[in-house]
């Protein structure tokens, strides 16, 4: 197990290296000039050239890469061209809103979707099952910004229960924090509820046809025990995989939700950085996303051992 863990951790290094190299090259090869962005609309060509020099963008691409990689080895992600702030500071400022939103969303999704999926499998072909399938189609099909605006209109503007936008940090109190994140989390969780519920249903449905389920029922175990202890436990591996992927996707993929609800998270930071051609920030956040993906995948793999003792590394 430890050997597996060590090998997996070691394998993140080439992944991160390749990702950083690709991102670095792609950014330099795409059109757009950070110096022109910084200089403003009324700036002269001379001013833009001066800014380009001051940022080191007049150096060759290999030269720029080795300077950046050298700093990276010391844990320095560089300074944002746009915000003139350390990239690590920017990421640290934006991490809390995104992680908060991701955690609440995935918690909400799991708490709703897993029982729903189990129930739908248990009552296969019944109204609950059909209802869940219908909801899944809607959950997948309706874009996040549409459900966001609809929820804002109903919950915030008509009923006045929750705020339209904004984020309060945990340091301001759990109440304000939850108050501001509830609606964005509900919006975002719709897709994940649909996804996790479908996978849970399919997975549990498969296990419900197994011999050991029939045996458990024959032994006279209560149906709840059969479902939770035998069916769900054996169906957990694909569900854990989907939840893991969901968490990883949430960390980097909440751009629309963050925009509509004005949450200053990593998604918005990434979009702003791309629009401003803020190379150090883009490189920094993509490295972070890659790291999160690798780590979440590792945790998902490790969780298999917990759910299925037959799996060994």
């Amino acid at each position: 197990m430890l050997n597996f863990l060590f090998r997996r951790l070691l394998s993140t290094l080439p992944v991160l290296l390749i990702v950083s190299l690709l991102v670095f090259l792609m950014l330099r090869l795409t059109p757009g000039d950070p110096a022109a962005v910084l200089a403003g609309d009324a700036a002269s060509t001379e001013q833009i050239a001066q800014i380009r020099t001051s940022l080191g963008l007049d150096r060759t691409i290999p030269e720029q890469f080795f300077i950046w990689a050298g700093h990276l080895l010391t844990g320095d992600l560089g300074q944002s061209y746009y915000y003139k702030t350390e990239v690590t500071t920017l990421i640290a400022q934006r991490l809390e809103p995104t992680v908060s939103l991701a955690v609440i969303t995935i918690t909400l999704a799991v708490l709703i979707a897993v029982p729903l999926g189990v129930m739908a499998a248990w009552r296969f072909g019944g109204w609950l099952d059909k209802g869940l399938m219908g909801f899944s189609v809607i959950g997948f099909s309706v874009p996040v910004f549409v459900s966001a605006y609809l929820l804002i209109w109903l919950v915030s503007l008509k009923l006045g229960w929750l705020p339209v936008q904004g984020y309060k940090r945990l340091a301001d109190g759990v109440g304000p924090w939850l108050y501001h994140l509830t609606l964005p989390a509900i919006t975002l969780s719709l897709i994940y509820i649909a996804l996790i519920a479908r996978v849970t249903r399919a997975s549990v449905l498969e296990t419900l046809g197994e011999d050991y389920i029939r045996t458990a029922r024959a032994k006279g175990l209560p149906e709840a025990t059969v479902l939770m202890r035998h069916a769900l436990a054996n169906a957990a591996v694909p569900i854990a995989t989907v939840i893991g992927i969901g968490i990883a996707l949430l960390i980097g993929g909440v751009v629309v939700t963050e925009s509509v609800y004005a949450i200053p998270g990593l998604g918005r930071l990434t979009v702003d950085a791309v629009l401003a051609r803020d190379f150090p920030t883009i490189q920094g956040v993509i490295l972070l996303f890659s790291f999160v993906y690798v780590m979440v995948n590792l945790l998902v793999d490790l969780s298999y051992v917990f759910f299925d003792p037959r799996i060994r590394y």
């Binding site: 022109a36 403003g40 609309d41 700036a43 746009y82 503007l157 904004g166 939850l178 200053p264």
Partner: protein, 531 residues
Amino acid sequence: MKFSRRLAAVAALTAVSALSLGTSLPVLAQGTVLRVVPHSNLAILDPIWTTAYMSRNHGYMIYDTLFGTDENGKVKPQMVDTWTVSGDNRLYTFKLRKGLEFHDGKPVTGDDVIASLTRWGKRDAMGQALFQFVQRMDSPAPDTFRIFLGEACGFVIEALGKPGSSVPFIMPKRVAETDAFKQIEEHIGSGPYVFKRDEFKPGDKAVYTKFAKYVPRSEPPSGTTGGKNVYVDRVEWNLALRDAQAQVNALQKGEVDVIEALGFDHFATVKADTTLQMPKYANFGLQYMARFNHLHKPFDNVKVRQAAIAAMTQEPFLRASVGVKELYKTCPSMFICGTPFGSTAGSDIQAKSNMRKAQALLKASGYDGTPIVIMKPTDLASIQKLPDVAAQLLRQAGFKVDLQAMDWQTLVGRRAKKDAPDKGGWHMFLTAWQTFDVWNPISNPTMDTRGEKSTWFGWATDDKLVELRNQFMRATDEGAKKKLADQIHARAFEVGTHAPLGEYMQPMAARKNISGFFVTNGNIYWNLKKN
């Protein structure tokens, strides 16, 4: 069962109340907070280093200026109390108002002014123009400074009071001595608000608190002049709220107080809402413009440029981009209608044009069918429809058009390239300017026609225009300046520097409990009260 439901309902209500209470407590502790949604994100905190309007607006919050420009475009003293000009117009002596103090408690002195002007003069186009004439500056007394000119020029006061981008804000000497090509690290001014650096979160929030020791002028506020009275304790710029629909939702719900730039699509919604208002804050709006690249075929040919100007009449652009009739007007002046130098001289080629004339002009120009590369920004709602209109009108006139879509920042990077259009360059782009950046021949960047030495993209070449502009800089008589401005305007149309595409007002929206709005011709947050 009934008990459980009741208990759940009570628990839910308690939770919602607790959550609501939790959000209101910090606001109470902060006094009156004006919550503003600015037109863009604030990233760069040095308003001299960049020409970005957001940085300029940040500058107006925390810095003061020597002179300001009132609602009608007239320059008036602000930090300056009195001033004299020598008979030969070569020595300007300024005395500062009493009680001017920086946020760190130190008095504003002539040395601070000199250092600030010196740095500004290295960055701003108008500042650079002024410093061609400045021989030296000194401060004979702490509250006095003098500008010695090598040769008389007629725009010293206009330059010091300019309200467009790169405003000559006054900073402490130690800050202003920062290399003009590096950003400042300290953000201390003597303006009506103090910047809360510790609360600034890029892309999230910028906070300004009232500077209690600020001594406002006694005159009523007008433009960037007059009394900068502050009636709120704190101004918060919401930098995260950038979705136009979400902005309106937040305003309707009362979560923000002011939207600086209301989208045209939401004009009717806000107008119909009795809890909201759209205060008049500007006499002059913005100007759309199409800029040609004069370096390459076919726009190196003046006749082709004239044909393009004749084809691009203003109404179609305004209708497509703004849409709300009461917010736009056609205006043949490159220097904005109604401003001191607003002129119509030479504008008939566009103002009295029609498509037949444009077609005839193009035919006579010898246009060889080179496709016109128009850069179209896809992510900037305020101008993204303009290139489509331009493409259609130019096609109707007989041009071949290659409309290339890209995001604004790609466009901004590409327009700085002098390469041929088929090698990564361009022929034409369209943009919008705030009035005070284009309202006179010195500040208007398109009037710089020194070819590749020009400070702005497009690199127009015309020696006669250069000469007229030089004469304008040296003219000290208002009548002579106006006459020269007319000549410059006529010449600019004659050589086809660019095409003005009409003027529009960007509406501002606010809740009804906010009062004290006045004509600022910009985005300024003093004099406002929150009831």
